[in-house]
């Protein structure tokens, strides 16, 4: 009995580490993309707001990956996980690694992700793992604010000029086939859900669709008819061609000066 319980605990920990990498990497990479706007946003208020969002996401990354490293028990802290893994070992959603392109893509991506993220974090405040619940509780106010802000921008730009409407619609079409990965699940997600540690991704789909639909309607935008789940694989390390370039840039100093302390 004890042995079985031990095996189960270790299998759970393994799944938990994977799950934490997924959520932590997703925060990191989205934060990175958002931070690329620093100094280049269309209006000063956006420079400030985007930097703020990036800061929140980097903060979440520190917590999620810190916990991942701790549970993994191989002496890797959040920085080691961030700066010393190559693309095939990253577990973020593909949605967040796509280039920013323009503010329409940036805003629309934040919105599509924030709807999911807010529901996920809210669910995680009820996690049976107090470490997860605690991080979620810290993050909840921030992600709720992110969602407010991005929904508001989607409405204003969707229902703005013809050009802003068209750009937002095009961004939506571009990003839609990447959204299904948020609800995709495998044994890792099953394990976490069964143990009461995290909501099953599948359970978040319906609420996401409803909220997204509401906001799109208000924004006079139209949900695409194509499949949501065309681009899967990020959660198991099969990424787009963009991630490698992002990491090469992000990791340069740690890779080039492995002995240095910063």
């Amino acid at each position: 009995m004890t042995q079985t319980a031990d095996v189960t605990a270790s299998a759970l920990d393994e799944a938990l580490v994977q799950w934490l990498l997924r959520i932590g990497d997703t925060s990191l990479i989205l934060g990175h993309r958002v931070s690329e706007w620093c100094g280049h946003a269309p209006v000063l208020e956006e420079d400030i707001a985007l930097a703020n969002t990036a800061l929140d996401l980097i903060g979440h990354t520190q917590m999620w990956l810190g916990l991942a490293g701790q549970i993994e028990g191989k002496g890797r802290d959040a920085d080691a996980l961030v700066y010393r893994r190559d693309a095939m070992h990253y577990r973020n959603l593909k949605l967040v690694e796509l280039p920013n392109d323009d503010m329409a893509i940036t805003v629309m991506r934040l919105f599509l992700f924030d709807v999911f993220h807010q529901a996920l974090i809210e669910g995680l405040t009820q996690s049976k793992d107090p470490r997860i619940a605690e991080i979620a509780a810290k993050a909840l106010k921030e992600v709720t604010y992110h969602l407010e802000r991005s929904s508001d921008l989607v409405v204003r730009l969707g229902d703005g000029t013809q050009q802003s409407h068209d750009r937002m619609q095009a961004a939506l079409e571009h990003l839609w086939p990447y959204c299904g990965e948020m609800f995709w699940s495998d044994a890792v997600d099953e394990t976490l859900a069964d143990a009461g540690l995290a909501p099953h991704p599948d359970r978040l789909r319906e609420g996401w669709l409803a909220t997204v639909q509401d906001i799109l309607t208000e924004a006079t935008l139209k949900a695409p008819e194509g499949r949501l789940d065309v681009h899967l694989g990020g959660k198991v390390g099969r990424h787009t061609e963009h991630l490698g370039f992002l990491l090469a840039e992000m990791q340069f100093l740690q890779r080039a000066y492995p002995d240095a302390d910063w």
Partner: protein, 311 residues
Amino acid sequence: SPEEQAFQDRIDAGERIEPRDWMPEGYRKTLIRQIGQHAHSEIVGQLPEGNWITRAPTLERKAILLAKVQDEAGHGLYLYSAAETLGESRDEMTQKLLDGRMKYSSIFNYPTLTWADIGAIGWLVDGAAIMNQVPLQRTSYGPYARAMVRICKEESFHQRQGYHIMMKMARGTDAQREMAQDALNRFWYPSLMMFGPSDKESVHSAQNMAWKIKINTNDELRQKFVDQTVPQAEFLGLTVPDETLCWNEEKGGYDFAEPDWNEFFEVLKGNGPCNAERIGARQKAWDDGAWFRDGLSAYADKQQARRMAAE
């Protein structure tokens, strides 16, 4: 004129001038130029540091840098607001920045080439900025003085963080120390230039001092900066790139070499290492963002029309 005299009396009495108060046209214009230029410097100043956000070496350093750049955007916002109280809109000032009618601090025309430059900017550039700004908390124009109070508080954080980066580098590996020394070599004289050429005999300067828009002479501030910074460099074990530098017991300060003012004027003319890049980046942000700003204002108009229709 009697109005001017009354105005000067208020200033001499240490009163604050507020937006609705009468003020001489020269005072207004000089302030718009000075505050606007300061605001532009905060905005353009995001670029050299922003250049390293995606490459910051740890998550903590990344977060600190992001927060710093965000603060700078915030400072820009306060300062534009202060300038707007004098009757010039942010968009007008932005246009003047982009077409070259208004300037920003020349220091931001120098590139950030290694991570140590992020340290050097915090330590030296923010250090020089604080030296300039602390007295301006007592400037005669109320909105400007209040903006300065907020800004100075944040800048001193930034300076400490920058110095901390330098410390890590200067006491780190050989490669890190080399980067730290190189950053000091490159940023030392441009930092000295931040106080501007000597203005001892400038009439312009005298008027601004009478108006309490300017509190100290450029040379006073520069001397203070050198006196503060040299011991800090020594503490780091770095060498200030000035062979003539030495303590002058008599004046109670360091003797030091003047920066190359020829370089200063060349950079001002547009021939700095990054002038074209900096303005190019701001122009691109402005142009690429036009549809975004238009979209938001079209929505605001529609909302207003809807509200009016509903009434």
